[in-house]
Point group: C2
Chain length 107, copies 2
């Protein structure tokens, strides 16, 4: 199917986890997924992480203003501070406007 | 650091692997990473995959025409056909123009 995400804003979060606090991180990550899903303009999220702690999360938003509102959400900002302190060695955030997309599924 | 990727094109590939042929898949994935890196306009790639086979790969390109040229590369198309046959249950491709980006690293 073509085009379901065209026009949306994708926020790509690339991160390297520290070795520690797996339980605290898992709890915070689940809470942030749930909080993101409750925000205006949310259109989905997908995450994958290698066993060595390198991960990519992509969240989708209807437009840039909703993506920025989520970035600036106080609970999100608070967890981000905790993440820099405890859970991440490094991360990269890439915000991008979707120009085309398609998907395939085994028939 | 802000803005290293702003203006680039991000190609997000979200996929669910089948259970089989781990060796064949790993070999093909490494060959495609190397081939992508040799293409005009290539600006990097990052991949993560959960133990259950759900993965996200993001490749970066200077512009849309280079991203399209990579999509249409004959070796890439041939491997894609093999992937649909053997390695993937489903996948989604999202092409997006980077509007802002920043990174952070533990000091």
């Amino acid at each position: 199917m073509a085009g379901a995400r065209t026009g949306q804003v994708a926020v790509i979060f690339v991160s390297q986890r520290t070795a520690g606090d797996a339980a605290g991180y898992a709890e915070a990550a689940a809470a942030m997924d749930a909080l993101a899903a409750a925000q205006p303009g949310y259109r989905g999220i997908a995450s994958a992480r290698d066993p060595d702690g390198f991960g990519i999360t992509v969240s989708y938003w209807t437009d840039e203003s909703n993506a920025i509102a989520w970035r600036d959400h106080p609970d999100h900002a608070r967890i981000r501070d905790a993440g820099r302190d405890r859970w991440y060695e490094r991360y990269e955030v890439i915000v991008a406007a979707v120009t085309r997309d398609y998907d395939w599924r085994k028939g």
